[in-house]
């Protein structure tokens, strides 16, 4: 039995069901809408596993599911050396989101990482602590900033409502996912010109550790 992991909630689940439907594979929740048991029609030997999108990378890496649907951001953030554990099968064309670095719009002197680095140096001298960047994407953000060479910053954890941290004075900048930028603008934040950390979209991934022949299912997804 080939196990297919799909996000268990919301728009990502709905879009995934539609995407598979167009390829003649009908995915659905069994029983009531609240139940996390799935059903697969239109192909034999495939079992649907409904999971949180954030857990799908780990399940793929452990080989407990053969294929899984989740964003590029999740795979790169959650899996160290991700390409040793999973391989992308096909990009699905929805769930587009950019992981970006944004600062307050009122920082009219700060439009690039170079500016942010200079601001961080001064900020630490003036305020006695490192400039705080709120995010839940710690690994990706840290790797991006290390690559650039930003100094005198610290990452603070923010698992939700990250756009509000600057106004609440718990951080000076954020690294977060955005699709249209509307929430950023509403919270008076601006993306740095060179602040694109990762472009993400919903993708079907194949586990490199799970045992089993996924070729029949993969052939249908092309």
């Amino acid at each position: 039995m080939i196990k297919l992991g799909v996000p268990s909630k919301g728009r990502l689940m709905g879009d995934t069901f539609t995407w598979f439907g167009k390829r003649g594979i009908t995915l659905s929740k069994a029983g009531s809408d609240r139940e996390y048991v799935g059903r697969v029609d239109g192909i034999d030997g495939v079992e649907l596993v409904l999971l949180s999108a954030g857990e799908i990378p780990r399940e793929l890496a452990a080989g407990r599911i053969h294929l899984g649907v989740t964003g590029t951001d999740m795979v790169h953030e959650k899996l160290s050396l991700w390409d040793r554990h999973v391989a992308p099968v096909v990009e699905m064309g929805f769930g587009n989101a950019d992981l970006i670095l944004a600062v307050p719009a009122c920082w009219t002197d700060c439009t690039t990482l170079h500016d942010l680095d200079a601001v961080a140096a001064r900020f630490r001298r003036d305020h006695g602590h490192r400039l705080r960047i709120a995010t839940k994407y710690h690994r990706l953000t840290r790797a991006f900033l290390r690559e650039f060479g930003l100094a005198d910053y610290q990452l603070v954890d923010s698992q939700g409502a990250t756009e509000g941290v600057v106004k609440n004075e718990t951080a000076e900048a954020i690294a977060d996912i955005t699709s249209t930028g509307a929430t950023l603008r509403a919270n008076h934040l601006r993306i740095l010109d060179d602040g694109l950390i990762l472009q993400s979209q919903a993708t079907v991934w194949r586990s490199l550790t799970a045992q089993g022949d996924v070729s029949e299912l993969v052939d249908r997804l092309g």
Binding site: C106, A121, H127
Partner: protein
């Protein structure tokens, strides 16, 4: 095997007059994060204590040993230690995450060249019989070249801040080598956050001043390329440095210090013609080392030992106080294998 080797190395350092010190495995994360920045999270194991907050498994002994010294400040002092250190490996799973370090640290206000030569000669006497080759470097040369630039203190400070990040350093040097254009101001917004409107206005004023500065002279920028390209036997490197210092006299004092150190190392009985010198040595891996640096590599190229002068670290940890600090560490797991291979060859 590695414990016996650690004990052997420890005994050598004790014989040289060092006092044995211990350090907690769990270190407060704050101190390490303030020193090394967020990057240390990728290299160290972070754990959480409900009362003491974030803690790290010690990534090295340097910080606790310096803290201990700064608290007592009896100089001259010599310390030795041995024990495991812990390094998380985010990208390369082939490297060990836990390994032994045996270290030797000297805090001594005597003439720097003599202290540096004594520490280096001791490591040399332990490691060259095992087939290791030594490389020297000197981060003081780059720092002196920055000080010698005909530019503002603000630009010098910006360059010094990134000496240990060569890629960013090169980027800054490139920016300062061209006429600056004032970037167009983006649309603002209502004031939010801790950084005040006055802070923003102050930086705008500073950027306007900076835009009036002339670019760095091409001849001065070229000094960094010539300097960082130096990589060869110590006597040749000294000759080349002498030529650069002729063109750029601000380097003279730093080159003089290096010559004194090399003379002291030679006087300690080391054949300097067999030592390598690279001006870029240690720039990526030895943050806060601000003068003499050295490393020893085994035949396959792996680093077995490294060390140098780190006065800058004592300045940051000492909150205004500093101490002249020179030291190094050896990895006994690696030297144990070299000792065993030699014994095998002899048998």
């Amino acid at each position: 095997m590695s414990q016996a080797e650690a004990d052997r190395l420890l005994a050598i350092f004790l014989d040289s007059g060092a006092q044995r010190v211990e350090a907690d495995i769990l270190q407060p994360a704050d101190t390490l994060l303030d020193l090394y920045g967020e990057d240390i999270r990728g290299r160290a194991y972070v754990t959480h204590d409900p009362l003491r907050g974030e803690m790290m498994l010690r990534p090295d002994f340097t910080v606790p040993v310096v803290q201990r010294h700064m608290a007592e400040r009896a100089e001259p002092a010599q310390y030795t230690y041995a024990g495991p250190v812990f390094r998380a490996q985010e990208d390369d799973t082939g490297r060990p995450t836990e390994y032994m370090q045996v270290g030797f640290e000297v805090f001594d206000r005597a003439a720097p060249a003599g202290v540096e030569a004594r520490v280096f000669a001791l490591f040399h006497s332990i490691l060259t019989p095992l087939g290791c080759t030594a490389s020297l470097g000197d981060i003081g040369l780059v720092l002196a070249a920055i000080d010698g630039l005909s530019t503002t203190d603000a630009r010098k400070a910006a360059l010094k801040r990134h000496v240990w990040r060569p890629h960013r350093f090169a980027d800054l040097l490139g920016r300062f080598s061209q006429p600056l254009k004032l970037p167009s101001k983006p649309l603002g917004g209502p004031h939010i956050g801790v950084r005040s409107g006055r802070d923003v206005a102050a930086r705008h004023a500073m950027l306007e001043e900076e835009a009036k500065l002339p670019p760095l002279a091409a001849g001065e920028v070229e000094v960094f390329d010539r300097l960082l390209a130096i990589n060869g036997a110590v006597p040749d490197a000294l000759d080349e440095l002498g030529l650069i210092a002729n063109d750029f006299p601000a380097l003279g004092a730093a080159v003089g210090k290096l010559s004194d150190r090399v003379a002291a190392i030679e006087a300690a009985g080391v054949d300097i013609a067999r030592l390598k010198f690279a001006a870029a040595f240690g720039l990526t891996s030895m943050e806060y080392y601000d003068g003499f640096v050295f490393g020893f590599a085994q035949p396959n190229g792996d680093t077995v030992a490294s060390g140098g002068r780190y006065d800058a670290l004592t300045r940051v940890l000492g909150q205004g106080q500093d101490a002249p600090a020179v030291g190094g560490v050896i990895r006994p797991e690696l030297t144990a294998a070299l000792v065993a291979a030699l014994a095998g060859d002899a048998a």
